[in-house]
Amino acid sequence: MISRLARWIDDRIGGSAFAESALSKVFPDHWSFMLGEIALYSFVVLVVTGVFLTFFFDPSVAETTYQGGYDPLRGETMSEAYRSVVELSFDVRAGLVMRQAHHWAAFTMIGSLVLHLLRVFFTGAFRRPREINWLVGVTLLILALANGFTGYSLPDDLLSGMGLRIMYSLVLSVPVIGTWVAFLLFGGEFPDQEIIPRLFVIHIMIVPAAIAVLIAVHLALIWHQKHTDYAGRDRRESNVVGPKLWPTYASFSLALFFAVFAVVVTMGGLVQVNPVWLYGPFRPSEVGPPSQPDWFVGWLEGALRIFPPWEIRAFGYEIPNPFYPGVLVPTVIFGGLYLWPFLEARFTGDRGPHHLLDRARDHPVRTAFGVTALSFVVLLQVAASNDLLAHGFDASVATITWIFRIVVPVVPPLLGWFTYRLMTALRASGAERFAEMPLRAVMRPAGDAEALASVGAEPAAVAGPTTDGAELTVYAAADGRWRWRYRDPADDIELDSNTSYVTEQLAAADARKAYPETPLVRNR
């Protein structure tokens, strides 16, 4: 049946050559390579659950009176948008599960995107030839954050309305063009009738379409360039080692999709998220109790909270306070992310292609920089809970805020410096694992041979492919086609070529390409 269908298609559009290479394509497997996949599958879940939600959500701020099944709100005046979300949650069967699963999937997507970005950064996977995919990936993160924020704002509840008000103020704070941009985006002075319908179009059409296109580009580039891999005895810049797409990798990847969906839906059923009915409808002059935004904008909120009361005013113009923490900080962070591969190449002079990943210690400056930036964002994220911390520690909000005003600029560089010392010491000590490194090595000047000798460590051997005893063979398979095999008896590694070849010469050529320095034994 499948073969008949395949033949039917191949007769019309061809593609059997591509299908053959696709089925036998090798994918390196490591748990950290699943993070991007989790983000991808979260997006699929978001589309599936989101389409369901669009059938019930009404993106209108027209006033209405709630008459639904949730008693505390009955008889209240609210927007159609808010009413439809409350109704979806209480009066539509399976509506709440779908809505909450959608919200949890957004968290999963953004969370796994951030972890994926960290993995790619700290392993140097963004280096040539993958700079383009790094740019695509950073853009995907920005788009995911944007869609998280717009989606969070759609229900027109009190909490998200306040978030929108703050966002309006941030846009307004941009020098020269801020007022115009804010009026064009929001339709006029806040709160304008236009904003909810506009957010809806942005949230369900414009951004998801951009995300879908960029995911396609991202995957196509991964496919075309082949995945990076961690170093290993059998790994080279010139090869890929792992299971074949069909059937092993496909079955695991499909399992991951179902697992992501399962977790998100279970959370959607069991763990309440964004209970808009408790916040009440948005009214511009009302505020709820001190409350937190969704976590993925927490770092921005934290920056706004702890930034000192500074602003610039000169010649009758001003750059108001929220601009610096709310616009400048994210611009610098994402600008730095976009530029990083090019800055690193410029400062290290390393412009060569890389397919094997770095360990954190291989590039102490990069690792230290990453730790600095990461701890800066994490501390801002914690600062967004300054009121909760004040409550928890029985201190005044002012005290906690002052602590963050000092900690946020001071601690990340210190952590970065410490990381640099740790990484250089780790690299010089030659310890295979972090735990095996003598602690005193960290305290000594990095790379100082004498100091290292004094703690009983040896400088790391120059890393390079080990060929001792390994050999390549080319052999005729049962079907008369040719295959090749890499054998490393010392490490008990035996790898077959993922595909077969028409001639012995072609098989030998590919074997030499994959392991240029390993001797080839022609026939067995």
Partner: protein, 274 residues
């Protein structure tokens, strides 16, 4: 192999049972928690089944595939030649090429203008609110207020009469306790009652919390704090400017009215704020 097969079948079986369960729960009226758990089992069962299948039944082991360290660039000269061959006649007709580029650029510029329709012209909209001389300060429900209708040391959110709920006009009426001199010009206050904009000058949240022991207004968003006796001067947090004060007086019936609009823009700062 057999134990593996049994587990795999059990996982898929659990999934099927849960799917049937979801259908039953849905038909009986639905229940979010049970729906979530059953859908989780239905999807998770497939995930577990596939993982076990991949590990225990499918052929394991790794394969190796050669890769190009740098992509082959053998075709590059041909590409350059093809492009230049095609570009040559265009280059010889400079004027036409320029005219084409010009029309595309102008079309692009013209296409930008509809964006202007997305919003009203800012003009000086942000400088003004709906307050006018003589407008009564009323609650959100439209009730006008007298001084003796305000509890001492309390705040009430008011709007200009006829503009109840107006976002930029929201104002706090505060009756200060005796002994505290009201801030601002003398004729902007009435019998110890002062009026300040409720919109935080930092990021625009309503400054909703009033601390009676210190007569401070507190913004729940970013914790800017404003001291009312000192003219709503910011004493903590990111806000840099005081909350603007609304001049108030009494009309002939003894109700609180505005004496004018705010004399400066309310809310967060912007580039050309006067």
């Amino acid at each position: 192999m057999n134990r593996g097969r049994g587990l795999i079948l059990a996982a898929f079986g659990a999934s099927m049972a849960a799917s049937i369960g979801v259908t039953v729960v849905y038909a009986l009226g639905g229940q979010p928690q049970i729906e979530g758990v059953l859908l989780g089992v239905a999807l998770g069962g497939i995930a577990v089944g596939l993982v076990l299948f991949g590990h225990r039944v499918l052929p394991g082991g790794h394969f190796v595939q050669a890769r190009d360290v740098v992509p082959p660039t053998t075709q590059r000269p041909e590409v350059a030649a093809s492009f230049e061959e095609g570009a040559e006649p265009i280059e010889r007709r400079r004027l036409i090429a320029t005219a084409f580029a010009g029309s595309v650029a102008l079309l692009g510029a013209a296409a930008v203008f509809p964006i202007r329709s997305l919003g009203t012209r800012p003009g000086r909209q942000l400088d003004h609110t709906s307050w006018r001389r003589g407008l009564r300060a009323v609650t959100n429900a439209g009730r006008p207020l007298r001084v003796d209708g305000l509890d001492p040391d309390s705040v009430v959110t008011v709007f200009p009469e006829g503009h109840e709920g107006s976002a930029d006009s929201q104002t706090l009426l505060i009756r200060l306790p005796g002994g505290i001199t009201p801030p601002g010009p003398r004729d902007w206050t009435v019998n110890g009652v002062v009026a300040f904009s409720k919109i935080c000058t930092h990021a625009g949240c309503p400054v909703g919390l009033y601390q009676t022991d210190t007569q401070e207004l507190f913004c729940p968003c970013h914790q800017s704090t404003f001291s009312v006796p000192e003219g709503a001067r910011p004493t903590f947090g990111p806000a840099t400017r005081p909350l603007p004060q609304l001049p108030i007086g009494l009309d002939d019936d003894g109700f609180i009215i505005a004496l004018s609009d705010y004399t400066e823009p309310v809310g967060p700062g912007f580039w050309n704020r006067p």
